[in-house]
Symmetry: C2
Subunit: 331 residues, 2 copies
DNA sequence: ATGAAAGCGCTAACAT
DNA sequence: ATGTTAGCGCTTTCAT
């Protein structure tokens, strides 16, 4: 493998000078600079990242903590972040984590092993050790789509958005509105809270039997949950699914039983993943400003890392109710 | 930051001994080993990866080259690979690349900068320099879903699979079969080739006006392409879309014009992404053994890296025609 | 079984 | 403007 010494030797100069050229420092004779640049070009030399990272005590790398089972929304999100981070000159390292302590510890270790410049979380880690460590080393962090303690986060007002989703249904005359929600995240709690509050505001009695739990936020579990609902008799005219994927699964199960959407049952989702606009029927859903979330998150982290505008604060972005074809007046 | 010296000092031993313990080497007094292990546990010490990578001349990291605009199939694929690689003890580094020379060069540089143990390509890079470099450093590589030169690849017989897809349509009585295909990859050429051959075998005349090009393999371009087809008059009874995403977009556009699928027009896709089984109607498609492809690829790379079973050879996995609801007898 | 010392490839402080 | 040198945190000879 070719190294900085090889380059230096070939042009008859010291590694220090070559290093200066590579890093665009001053105090190098323009002619020699050209000469070195040319040689680097020719040889295809690229500095070793580990060596650099070691002496610089930083890696120009940003981590993104994401669940192994990332959903479509998260996939779109990290895709956007990755592009933005790259434009800022960072490498991106994905830290996949599962829903268990072991995996979270593993993630923490990785964080320690790499000298990351900072990182983004689009997955809520439970372990308190994790956050303790962050505090102790003062590593720049931004969360996206949720909040944790005093860490700055970029997100929408989930509760209010869910409230509005239910309101849309209520305005269409629905009173028997089921909720399909999954696991143990803040967004699920907030969306559920919005559901209850909207029902309350509409004078509809709170009925826990209308709430169904999916084990995961996938289409498969959406199908399963809807089957279960149907088994208990079709005493609902509308469904609020906590994510679009759950909604798509639910619509599938409804169709399989000959129930028409939206004629017989209205379904509203949440997130507005890309496919929501391509399904049959197109999905009415809460649009999250996914591009903006991704960009803002990357920017906030960049700012933290560079110390410019060190304002560590949350940003609540605005969502939108996107009315498409899966909701209609109550039959 | 806590380092190996700190650990050593605290137990009153040399860094060398601590290093031996960390790496599970022999010749350490069992008592001291325990003592050191305990301290590491307590302090939460994790060795610095850069330092380690530097002296070891390897990183225990495997790269996955993937297009920035990865599609759903590729997303599922890398997810599987990542899990498998982790189980082998590798870190995974994603190398996103765009469809231009600059980005490919960038990717190559990254490959040089990191001391990767090996890498996987699920994206065809064009630049010959890229492959030259691979040759020159003899870096372990495996391709997935395509082949390049003598690099071992894991894939299905794309052409034969496409042939079978068309055959399915022909058996249903279709003769006016359009093709929707996108960009410049080997799989697109092979799927197109299968289309033509199957038509030939069925005695259907080759008609290039039946072939439509999508700029990207996305649902959006699927819609656009189908609109264009429809504009030219509906003189087809079936469509073979080169990917499921294209198919889903096409079905959407068909619906928008009041064309029923499969009653009026049959649509068949390729890949069998997760959602293909949840759309309305469910998508008939070619099932790629995505889990197997992912696992086999990771395994093949692992073997190359470890020199065990250094057989550098291709594996052609078997696909399956998955008949669902989007195809029917010709009207 | 253990420690001292060299060195991985690079950058930066200090000389010149 | 350029070179010399030290050192980032670790592993691995080579002594002992």
């Amino acid at each position: 493998m070719i190294g900085i010494k090889d380059i230096a030797k070939k042009v008859g100069m010291s590694p220090a000078t070559v290093s200066r050229v590579i890093n665009g420092k001053k105090h190098v004779n323009p002619q020699r600079r050209e000469q070195i640049l040319k040689l680097i070009e020719e040889t295809g030399y690229v500095p070793n990242k580990a060596a650099r990272s070691m002496v610089l005590q930083r890696s120009y790398t940003v981590g993104i903590v994401i669940p192994t089972t990332f959903n479509i929304f998260q996939r779109q999100l990290f895709s956007i972040m990755e592009k933005r981070l790259e434009s800022f000159g960072y490498y991106t390292l994905f830290l996949f984590v599962n829903f268990n302590t072991e995996s979270e510890t593993e993630c923490l270790n990785r964080l320690k092993a790499e000298k990351l410049d900072g990182f983004i979380m689009i997955h809520e880690i439970k372990s308190p050790y994790f956050y303790e460590y962050l505090e102790s080393v003062n590593l720049p962090v931004v969360t996206a789509t949720f909040r944790y303690g005093s860490i700055p986060g970029i997100h929408v007002d989930e509760e209010k958005a869910a409230f509005e989703a239910i309101n849309h249904l209520v305005n269409l005359g629905h009173r028997k509105i089921n909720l399909l929600v999954g696991g143990d995240f803040s967004f699920s709690k907030q969306r559920m809270e919005g559901y209850y509050k909207a029902l309350g505001a509409a004078g509809i009695e709170r009925d826990e039997r209308r709430v169904f739990l999916a084990r995961q936020y996938t289409m498969e579990y959406g199908i399963n949950a809807m089957r279960e609902m149907l088994l208990r008799g079709r005493d609902f005219t509308a469904l609020f699914a906590a994510t679009d994927e759950l909604a798509i699964g639910a619509i599938r199960a409804l169709r399989d039983e000959g129930v028409r959407v939206p004629e017989d049952v209205s379904v509203i989702g949440f997130d507005d993943i890309e496919i929501a606009n391509y399904t049959v029927p197109r999905l009415t859903t809460i649009h999250q400003p996914i591009t903006e979330i991704g960009e803002e998150t990357a920017l906030a982290l960049h700012r933290q890392i560079n110390g410019s505008n060190p304002v560590k604060q949350d940003r609540t972005l605005s969502y939108q109710l996107s009315i498409r074809e899966s909701t209609a007046r109550v039959p």
